[in-house]
């Protein structure tokens, strides 16, 4: 879902950057207010893990591959969508600047899609589903699936505004492929949540949600 520079006019990229910068600033405020030194190692490990796993494309049929994005995972583990904005912004900056994965002018749009939309959709779907089902596995799987699908649909609309994709075909392609990729997102998110909660239940917000 990493939009390259060539897929979007610079003028539109600047608008998405401006929106993304507001969210990045708010995520830094969240880090300052809500995080303390005890949680920094978990954030660092999550960021490193999300960066690594984003390089691991798995086949999803229809000639397409996909990888974990990690917005829902970061938001659920740290108990806030702002965690996803903070971590995904840094992951996307490193990917774009050092490895050319995703453009520079389109980085704002990528941060908006995967960090902001992915993080907020993932977190609030998880919260709502937990309240309704009391089942962490189902809630996290569906929340992560939605946190993959909805940003992809947003990306399709952005590609339409940019004149790169026609709207219907863009929505069909992005929706279909990311509905499949979302199964990977859901599965890995559930496994990672169990793994993290088993090694450090004290600093993971998800376990508090589960036990209350």
């Amino acid at each position: 879902m990493h939009i390259p520079d060539a897929f979007m006019p610079i003028s539109q990229g600047i608008i998405y950057w401006a929106i993304a910068l507001v969210f990045i600033a708010l995520s830094l405020r969240w880090v300052r207010q809500e995080m303390d030194e005890t949680k920094v190692p978990l954030i660092a490990v999550l960021a490193a893990g999300i960066f690594a796993i984003q390089a691991f494309n798995l086949p999803v049929a229809m000639g397409t591959s996909g990888h974990l994005v990690g917005g829902a995972l970061a938001a659920i583990v740290l108990g806030s969508p702002w965690a996803a904005v903070f971590i995904l912004s840094l992951v996307l900056i490193v990917q774009g600047v050092i490895f050319g994965d995703g453009g520079i002018t389109t980085m704002g749009a990528n941060i908006l899609n995967m960090g902001v939309i992915g993080g907020f959709v993932g977190f609030y779907s998880y919260k709502g589903l937990m309240a309704a089902t009391r089942n962490m596995n189902i809630s996290a799987f569906v929340a992560a699936w939605l946190a993959c699908l909805i940003p992809a649909l947003a990306c399709a609309v952005e590609m339409w505004i940019a004149g790169t994709f026609p709207l219907a075909l863009g929505l069909a392609g992005m929706g279909l492929y990311h509905a499949a990729i979302g199964i990977i997102e859901g599965g890995i998110t559930v496994v990672a949540l169990h793994l993290i909660a088993s090694v450090r239940p004290d600093i993971v917000s998800v376990t508090k949600e589960v036990t209350t």
Binding site: V31, T38, A47, V94, D101, F165
Partner: protein, 110 residues
């Protein structure tokens, strides 16, 4: 798990994922590239991707940027070991970046 051990285990796990990615990652295009190929007419929506299909990136009038380690590699000369090194470097940069920024904005533990 103690915090230092958590960070060490996390970095080792991330590097193992990176190594697995170098050898096992699917060469198929991702969802956005696949959609671009469908829009170009080089792929059907549900069909396989032809091996020679390439996404047309019209860079005319667009910003262009040469990343130092494009495609998570150190270049053809280094091959797969270079890809592993590139990913390991990325993982370390992520960890250092988080600790660096946190040092600036995070309040000390009580």
């Amino acid at each position: 798990m103690e915090t230092r051990a958590l960070v060490a285990a996390g970095i080792v796990l991330a590097i193992l994922i990176g190594i697995a990615a170098v050898f096992l990652a699917s060469p198929d295009p991702d969802g956005l590239e696949s959609t671009a190929l469908v829009v170009q007419g080089d792929k059907t929506l549900t069909g396989d991707t032809p091996p020679d299909a390439r996404v047309n990136e019209n860079s005319e009038g667009q910003f262009s940027y040469e990343a130092p380690l494009p495609d998570y590699s150190l270049g053809e000369l280094w091959g797969r070991p270079g890809e592993i090194l590139a990913l390991a470097a990325g993982i370390l940069v992520m960890v250092l970046l988080i600790f660096g920024i946190s040092r600036l904005v995070v309040r000390p533990a009580k």
